[in-house]
């Protein structure tokens, strides 16, 4: 699955990560308009970003993060050419990960 789009850019020693994940992020409150059944909750619970084996960011999310979540943050200590990896796990145990090279 290629559910993650990620860009990493370094400027003055600070790396900015921007990531978009395709995911429905269903809250479990919404009803299907055709069947009238409640759509079960299905959302990303944890996102981890690592650089050279160190976790630079762990995000834990509730269902109130928007559909197809966007995430951005910054960290120091990485150089252009380094690889950062991002992975997520949702409440159904589905997961995905992706790597990006810092530019």
């Amino acid at each position: 699955m290629a559910s993650i789009k990620m860009r990493a850019k370094v400027s003055d020693g600070v790396t900015t990560i921007k990531a978009l994940i395709s995911h429905p992020m269903d809250t479990g409150l919404l009803k299907d308009k055709k069947t009238g059944k409640t759509i079960p909750a299905h959302f990303i619970q944890e996102v981890v970003c690592q650089h050279k084996g160190t976790t630079v960011m762990t995000a834990t999310w509730g269902a109130a993060v928007s559909k197809n979540p966007y995430l951005s943050f910054k960290f120091k200590g990485a150089a252009a050419g380094d690889t950062v990896s991002l992975s997520w796990v949702d409440n159904k145990g589905e997961k995905d990960s992706a790597d990006a090279t810092i530019k």
């Binding site: 809250t27 409150l29 160190t54 979540p69 910054k74």
Partner: protein
Amino acid sequence: MTSMKRRIFLKGSLATGAVGMAVSTGLLAPRMSLAAWSKAAFEAKDVNSAVSALYGAGSMTDSDKIKIKAPDIAENGAVVPVSVTTSLDGASSISIIADKNATPLTAEFTLGPTTEGYVSTRIKMGKTANVIAVVKAGDKLYSAKKEVKVTIGGCGG
């Protein structure tokens, strides 16, 4: 089935009161190094219990070193862009809370030692509410808030 169990669990922990709450959150929120998903915090129905389930302590100090960037008026509550920047030293965690949502806690970010005090994401808001940013720096909690008017809610309905 699992959601029923959760409801029963929540009722039980509320009934046993403050002591029970403290014990259950202590068991359920292994906050420190492994950031496990905190069910108690994400299913809490009000801001204070969400914060105490997440961080173990409920008292927050208002801080002008936290800046929330969010729209004054969000036309679509399903997608509200929120950025939080903090210049507090040693910030280790940032949480974003929408206080009128059914479950106010939307997201929590644990920062590594080299991570800057900045996160940006998009959240859903049921109705006009304060977006509260809680920052943990050292052993203390700091917060700031900003009102966002929502014209169309984004949490079902």
